[in-house]
């Protein structure tokens, strides 16, 4: 039989264990609102019993805290990360698409659709009162307003594209920082695991970082050595992080110089770590995009800038979902809208200029009127150039702004013997462009425009060469309604409808993004609820545990005073003097 002193030991262990458990409870309560925290439990276990060879079997020796574990479902983590990266992709898309909607201002009176309507109306009014100087002034002013609006929309889209680039750069920086923190934590975790302990809080912190990383792109996580993890980016299956090492870092492409074949990279999105790649294969690089760089080959991180040759050092990074994918897709989509605005501006300039100057030669632009020599471009001809960004250059010919009387509303040119003030046929033709379907994505020149929608009275395609004699400047007189007519192309679309389609495309895109964000929100709320139900801290539960451990602690303490009394009996009461 064990002695009273050995019972003291049992009590001491009991008090220590309850105290540890209370410590865990207080840690839980303290972290009740900490992001990524998983509730911890002290696992109590009986200590080795004492076998009494003489007496009745084994006698317990008390309790011990065997381990402190966290409550976590790793399968749920994987699911949450996958859905988080989908949510992030659509959130970033929604953010930008909503801004683009604000740029276009449809469907309001100040949107481009309405401004274009006023432009056509002005021509229609001019065709009705071709003698009126006011009507001409209104045409010039409405056209200038329209050109400004197109240019303004385009500039705003361009700014937005630059913004998206900045955000990508910042996020590349963030991703690098998260990856570095993960590798650091991997090191610390490894040290604890080697010592045979459970690094609960470190694991929580790493899981939180991995969650944050999953907002940027989607990846697979696999367990590595001694508590480490490996991260493989999807869909390229590129191993980017293994235990304590970043194998593939991320770099931001700041500048691509097609002419010299030089590409400027910011390693880790850090503009102080500039690397220039020479002799680059330009198809691989696109400004504003992201590359993986081989960090094992990259050790020269002391002196910048560094020059590398195009080859194995960097490779194209493609991402599945996540905000990085979202922003890349946005910058692509902004480009589409820009292209569409360019097509709109170019076809407007080509169509109006061809009819107004009655010439398929865009390079000539003269005026003088009553001393003859006409052929005046209504819009500046550089908006017709396929190699230029038409939306950026469209503007009304300065000569017309200064003197709207130069606008030719009639069939004949000023100064010709047949000229008449009351003829509004040319203005009418331009007004009719509003409802004329043309293949505006495929005609790139005035010649193409004329062949697309002008027919002679026999229904033959009109080319500038066909009727050289019928007008003074080598082209058929397009405003001669008897011999030529404008016919809608069955494969074409009107300029108004073309713009409407752009708006519809934008609307559908953002509608999808909004729907996905709200779906993913619901899904993630559910998953998050499940995670909280496993890993979250319940105050009620902790309070109950607290009382439970407190009472046990008190009972153990009581035990000491009982043993003390027993010892008092032995020491002071047993022998009477």
């Amino acid at each position: 039989m064990s002695g009273l002193f050995s019972t003291f030991n049992t009590v001491r262990r009991g008090m220590a264990a309850q105290q540890s458990a209370l410590q865990v409870v207080s840690h839980n309560v303290a972290n009740a609102n900490t992001d990524g925290y998983s509730v911890q439990r002290a696992d109590l276990k009986t200590t080795e019993p004492f076998t009494n060879p003489a007496g009745a079997g084994q006698i317990g020796t008390g309790v011990n805290v065997q381990s402190i574990t966290r409550s976590r479902d790793e399968f749920l983590d994987t699911q949450i990360r996958k859905e988080l990266s989908t949510l992030s992709r659509y959130e970033s898309r929604e953010q930008f698409l909503t801004e683009i909607e604000t740029i276009f201002l449809e469907p309001t009176d100040s949107g481009l659709a309405d401004i274009m309507g006023k432009f056509w109306d002005a021509w229609q009014q001019l065709s009705n009162t071709p003698e009126s100087a006011t009507a001409k002034k209104i045409v010039a002013e409405n056209a200038a307003t329209m050109a400004t609006a197109i240019k303004h929309n385009y500039d705003q889209l361009e700014n937005m594209e630059i913004n998206a680039g900045h955000i990508i750069k910042d996020q590349v920086f963030e991703v690098s920082s998260i990856m570095r923190q993960i590798t650091d934590l991997n090191g610390q975790i490894k040290a604890v695991v080697i010592a045979g302990q459970q690094p609960n809080d470190l694991l929580d912190r790493r899981d939180l970082l991995v969650d944050q990383l999953s907002k940027r792109f989607n990846f697979d996580v696999a367990p590595g050595n001694l508590g480490g993890i490996e991260i493989t980016a999807k869909p390229s299956n590129e191993l980017i992080l293994k235990d304590g090492i970043i194998t593939q870092g991320v770099a931001y492409i700041n500048k691509v110089d097609e002419a010299t074949g030089q590409v400027e990279l910011y390693i880790d999105g850090d503009l102080n770590k500039k690397v220039t790649i020479t002799g680059a294969d330009m198809s691989k690089y696109k400004s504003g995009h992201i590359m993986f760089y081989d960090s094992t080959k990259y050790t020269k991180d002391t002196t910048y800038p560094v020059t590398e040759t195009d080859g194995a050092f960097v490779k194209t990074a493609t991402f599945e979902n996540g905000s990085l994918n979202g922003f890349e897709s946005i910058s692509k989509e902004i480009n589409e809208y820009k292209t569409q605005l360019n097509t709109l501006a170019r076809s407007l300039a080509i169509a109006v200029n061809t009819i107004h100057s009655n010439s398929t030669d865009s390079s000539v632009n003269t005026a003088t009127i009553n001393g003859k020599t006409v052929q005046l471009n209504f819009f500046n001809a550089n908006a017709e150039d396929l190699t230029k960004e038409a939306a950026k250059y469209i503007s009304v010919n300065q000569a017309i702004i200064e003197n709207p009387d130069l606008i030719n509303a009639g069939q004949y040119f000023d100064g010709e013997t047949n000229y008449t003030a009351g003829n509004g046929q040319r203005a009418m033709l331009i007004a009719q462009l509003r409802h004329t379907r043309m293949e505006l994505t495929s005609f790139n020149t005035r010649e193409g425009f004329v062949q697309n929608i002008f027919r002679d009275k026999d229904g033959n395609v009109v080319t500038s060469a066909a009727a050289a004699s019928s007008s003074s400047n080598g082209t058929p007189n397009l405003a001669d309604l008897v011999n030529y007519k404008m016919v809608s192309s069955s494969a074409g679309t009107t300029i108004d409808a073309y713009f409407k389609a752009t708006i519809a495309q934008l609307g559908v895109s953002n509608q999808e993004a909004r729907r996905m964000v709200s779906n993913q929100d619901v899904l993630l709320t559910q998953l998050e609820t499940r995670r909280q139900s496993i890993s979250g801290v319940s105050i009620d539960e902790e309070m109950t545990n607290m009382i439970q451990f407190q009472r046990a602690y008190e009972a153990n303490a009581k035990m000491i005073s009982v043993i003390d009394q027993l010892l008092d009996v032995v020491v002071n009461g047993l022998v009477r003097r």
Binding site: D114, Q124, S127, E131, T420, G422, A501, G507, E541, M543
Partner: protein
């Protein structure tokens, strides 16, 4: 399922945010009076709205063209009527001039009268509408007739568009009735020579019929424009009604929906205030 405090707050916040988003949607709709305010609200509704707005605006522009065309043709009609009347008088005078009993003096008086009428016709030929000469073809800024009745206008008509792809020439060119001056001159010349102008009557009648025909043509065109006007108005009305259906909200319905949403929102706020408060801590002493 184990429910923790964070589960409650997360769920509550999520639901509250949803309710608030819905509230905002209804508030936007009610304050703007429009179903949609951006393309993503309903891309097809927005595209339809843009299309209808554009068509209504174009139609309203065509209505102005038609109005102007009708005014132009009414003026033409009145002017041709005046010419017809003057010619009727000339006809009567010419018949009278054929009377063998008329003296040279009397014929001279007739001649002077007819000359006056001829100048009157030439003046009517220079009638203008809104500052533009109506009988000059597309040469609207120059008087089409000299006082002697020589036409100096253009041979082109006035082609205008009155609805999508529908063009009509609303001009009546002076050269279509210019010959009547020659006829009148012949009569004047006969009378001046104290001759009976009876031989000229048939020719004059022809000219009168010609003017009548031109007037009938102008009338027919103005009736056509009137028909187009009523069609135009119908179209605008229908499209406006359709636009209203597509773009405008049904206020009563929206207010009801908003009220329902509001009560849901209030309920969730109240519940939140209640469920998030108590914990075991409230009961521990």
């Amino acid at each position: 399922v184990r429910i923790t405090n964070k589960v409650l707050t997360t769920n509550f916040l999520g639901n509250l945010r949803n309710n608030l988003t819905n509230m905002q949607k209804y508030q936007n709709q009610l304050s703007s009076g429009k179903e949609v305010s951006r393309p993503s609200d309903d891309p097809f509704r927005v595209a339809r709205t843009m299309e209808l707005t554009a068509n209504i605006n174009a139609n309203e522009r065509y209505a102005k063209n038609i109005e102007e065309g009708i005014g132009w043709l009414y003026t033409t009609d009145t002017a041709l009527g005046q010419i017809g009347d003057a010619m009727q008088t000339i006809y009567e005078k010419t018949v009278a001039g054929g009377n063998g009993a008329y003296s040279e003096g009397e014929r001279e008086a007739l001649k002077l009268h007819i000359q006056q009428l001829k100048e009157q016709i030439a003046e009517v030929g220079n009638t203008s509408y809104d500052g533009r000469y109506i009988f000059g073809g597309d040469k609207t800024n120059v008087p089409p007739f000299t006082t002697q009745g020589v036409y100096q206008g253009s041979a082109n008509g006035l082609v205008r568009e009155f609805s999508q792809g529908v063009t009509l020439d609303i001009g009546t060119k002076g050269n279509q009735f210019e010959e009547l001056f020659t006829k009148i001159d012949e009569i004047i010349s006969d009378l001046g020579q104290n001759k009976s102008p009876s031989d000229r009557i048939a020719g004059l009648q022809q000219s009168m019929e010609n003017v009548l025909k031109l007037r009938a043509e102008a009338g027919a065109r103005s009736r056509r424009l009137e028909a187009m006007m009523s069609k135009n108005e119908d179209e605008t009305f229908n499209m406006t009604a359709l636009l209203s259906k597509t773009y405008d909200i049904d206020v009563a319905e929206k207010v009801m929906e908003y009220k329902v949403m509001e009560s849901v929102y209030n309920a969730s706020l109240q519940t939140g205030a209640k469920i998030l408060q108590p914990s075991l801590l409230d009961f521990l002493r």
